[in-house]
């Protein structure tokens, strides 16, 4: 009984780190490369081919080997190259406009479409409210036309 309990405990101790490692997906180079810039090239690191870009990739590989998460790697890159190494600008200062302008554009477009639809519906309602009764000739012509479609 005691032996069985010890075996169970050992299995649990060995299984826990393995399970934790399996649950935490390992960061990959392509995963980081498309979110950071090559500072000398002015392009995404993913697209950059230069000695500096290769150094930056080596740095990321070493960080991955050290078991760092994507966020930790990006923080370390910012410590080396500053905020401009991030492909997405920080949501502060002038760079905030990168987020605000598209959002304001969407709101303006939605308001424009809503106003346009409203105006169009009003115009079509106005056109459809002609309640003048048909005269005798028109009624006769309508009946003839409809009779033509009787099956």
């Amino acid at each position: 009984m005691r032996r069985a309990a010890l075996l169970a405990l050992a299995a649990l101790v060995l299984a826990t780190p393995a399970a934790a490692a399996a649950a935490t997906p390992k960061t990959t180079l392509p995963d980081v490369e498309d979110e950071v810039m090559c500072p000398t090239c002015g392009t995404l690191l993913q697209l950059a081919e230069s000695p500096q870009a290769n150094d930056e990739r080596d740095f990321i590989r070493r960080e991955i080997m050290a078991g760092k998460t994507k966020q930790q790697i990006e923080d370390d890159l910012v410590a080396q190259f500053g905020e401009r190494v991030l492909a997405t600008p920080p949501a502060s200062g002038f760079d905030l406009t990168a987020y605000l302008v598209p959002a304001l554009g969407l709101v303006a477009a939605a308001v424009g479409i809503a106003l346009g639809v409203r105006r169009w519906r009003r115009a079509s309602d106005a056109a459809g409210t002609d309640d003048t009764p048909l005269d005798e000739g028109e009624t006769e012509r309508l009946d003839t036309d409809l009779a033509r479609y009787d099956l």
């Binding site: 500072p39 000398t40 000695p51 150094d55 410590a79 190259f81 002038f94």
Partner: protein, 175 residues
């Protein structure tokens, strides 16, 4: 002017103003000969604190922008070190600024070439932007008053240092 025209005009003006501001704030700068050298404070490469050119007031300083991944920087490093050692007594120093580079790689470069002059780290390349740098290496001679006297776009050679930089230190340069 109708209200709609006014708001349309205001919207267009805001977009144009925003674009202009972006271009101006991100646009390239440069410093001309005779102008004060930018006083940006940078961290020391060895992590021992921070410095700016103002800390060298009263001294001739050859500010050398470099990076460990830059091949011409490797070629000029021995000449810079030799010139610095030879003229340290002449109220002169080379001041290295490692730009857009990883600190570990830069420190390896310093050890490899036995560089003894002070080194600063400018990872984001802010000083390089202030100076309108087009590539690495570039060197800037700053006089004891903090004004720019020479610009060298590209690697320096022992000959350049002797024939172009040295006359300034000895007061024989054509002003």
């Amino acid at each position: 002017m109708s209200a709609r025209t006014f708001w349309s005009f205001l919207g267009v003006l805001a977009v144009v103003g925003l674009l202009a501001f972006g271009l101006i704030s991100k646009g390239g700068n440069s410093v001309d000969i005779g102008q004060p050298f930018p006083g940006r404070s940078l961290d020391s490469l060895d992590g021992s604190g921070s410095q700016s050119i103002a800390d060298y007031r009263g001294q001739w300083v050859l500010v050398n922008l470099w990076a460990s991944w830059c091949t011409p920087c490797r070629q000029e490093a021995p000449a810079l070190e030799e010139f610095n050692r030879a003229h340290a007594k002449d109220n002169f120093t080379v001041l290295g600024v490692d730009s857009k580079d990883l600190t570990d790689n830069a420190n390896r470069f310093v050890a490899e070439f036995g560089v003894t002059y002070p080194q600063l780290h400018d990872g984001p390349g802010m000083l390089a932007d202030d100076l309108g740098t087009r590539g690495f290496p570039e060197s800037f001679l700053v006089d004891p008053s903090g004004n720019l006297r020479l610009i060298r776009r590209g690697a320096v050679t022992a000959d350049y240092l002797q024939t172009t930089v040295l006359p300034f230190l000895s007061g024989k340069a054509h002003q």
